[in-house]
Symmetry: C2
Amino acid sequence: MDKTKKLTIKDIATKANVSTATVSRYLNGQLNQMSEKTAAKLKKIIKETAYIRNSAAVQLAKQKSNLIAVIASNIDEYFSSEYFKGIVSILSAQGYIGVLFDSNSDKIIESALLESVYNQNFAGLILQPLSTDRRLIEKFSNNHIPVVLIDRDIGNGEISAVTTNNFQVTKFAMTSFLDKGFKKVTIITEPVNDISTRVERVAGARSVFDHVQLIEVDTDHLDLAELSDKIDIKNSKNLLFVLKERLLIQLIANTDLLNETTSQQRLTGFVDTNIPKYLAPKYKFIQQSPYLMGATAAEILMAQFLEQQTTDIKQIVIPSHFE
Amino acid sequence: MDKTKKLTIKDIATKANVSTATVSRYLNGQLNQMSEKTAAKLKKIIKETAYIRNSAAVQLAKQKSNLIAVIASNIDEYFSSEYFKGIVSILSAQGYIGVLFDSNSDKIIESALLESVYNQNFAGLILQPLSTDRRLIEKFSNNHIPVVLIDRDIGNGEISAVTTNNFQVTKFAMTSFLDKGFKKVTIITEPVNDISTRVERVAGARSVFDHVQLIEVDTDHLDLAELSDKIDIKNSKNLLFVLKERLLIQLIANTDLLNETTSQQRLTGFVDTNIPKYLAPKYKFIQQSPYLMGATAAEILMAQFLEQQTTDIKQIVIPSHFE
DNA sequence: TTGTAAGCGTTATCAA
DNA sequence: TTGATAACGCTTACAA
């Protein structure tokens, strides 16, 4: 039971009285290139001995790896695990395996990860970017390693990307509130910096409301008292628009907005789970489709493998819904 | 800029006018085995050419992979991403990379993943088990691939495992409620089956309360009305003990327990995030330490690599806290 | 301090 | 339908 020596293709060949070439052919499914008898014999022996190939040797000989790196900006977000699931669902069907890395919302870590991933000879990269610096990413493209961005874009359309319709869906949601009589919107978000999702959402709100207040906070060190001071909470025509689910939940839990006598919704935002719906069943939020975004990104990546060329850039938008 | 040919160690050797062995030594940090001059020259050339080694070839030559598989029972749980972070923090410091897989709460998927991971020649496995079937896992041990279980144990102490003190912490928490006058506890959980964490938590409650009611539900299809019917909600001496955070949040959001006139806490459970604390700041919950559990599991795995032997089994308990 | 060369386990070309 | 064998890119005795 406890074989101390690892079996190789040579051992199998010997046992079966064939050459290693034949075993290799069997392993690669070229069954039409051998007699049924040989195939049956190999099948039996391989099963009995529980032989498994050495994937490093396969990679070396075939000159290709089956590892795809996925770098999330922060895996604490439910959004990340969900799109990762989508990615894996596509990759594994094609024999590739997805490896998840976490930038932990830190550009320095992101750089280090990109560097390290690059050095590890991954076959491809799916990146939810933090930095807008394209230089590190170009290193991949220059070496014919396909890259697909997810969630956020960084500019010039030179890299394939799967994003959502941040501007439009925000505009749509904001318009519905404008129609209900709201006069002003207060956006609560982590620092916008130049992160495309946030920039577009703010722009979406500005395209509807003349009066937009922007409050940037740190989710992990949220000072609710300080925040309340900044918000014109008395004004029932002031909508609160929260760009991050975790922040939204904190606000739902800590304000009286839900229990107001006026039954009108005064709080909305982008959500990834159904927790906000548990807390406020009648409210409408902007719901994204991370799983689908992940699957789409993986499909684009797979396509780039087939087409040899890294030159076929695709920009796909997976719509979010206000409901 | 766009090298069409991949550089090899040979190219570097040629450029530097040394042998491939010397380049290899440089790459492996054996700087004391060469002149400073040679080292400097190589450093320069490698930097200029942006050479990277072929990791498949390294693995083949060194006869070891640097990939560790991590199989989570369900990556939707915040618990998983947190312990995965802990694992990665230890692994990457040692040059290993962690690969996350998701059983998606499905034993069939888990089997398939174990099989597939086994076939991919991973160097080690960290598993949050769903099934208690040890046969698939023994395949790894028999091939000298170290395995460490996390969160849940499956029995006979033959496999290293990092768990938490489910029984004790539950007993401690239940006792504090007993002392406050509660007479009965209703446990709400996903089906207990033979999942060790759940079994131990139920046992912990039974060790304190004579009257224990067990309600098994499906988080994704929770019928609140049906659930309410089963609970003796009128009885203010009936404690609700929820074993899963997502369930707990749903209950907090959908019952009036929080807003009762009696200011006594009647609801508690196991939590992984601080969301429940947002919702009920004065309540005490049982808080686990997934990050630490992950890091510990990874450390045990690393230790097993060094000790050659897979025989040194460790069982570590990372305590949870009621606070 | 450096070089030579024999592996590592597979694949794939060419010949039989 | 099969087999021999040269790659694949790197590591590591062993020699020098």
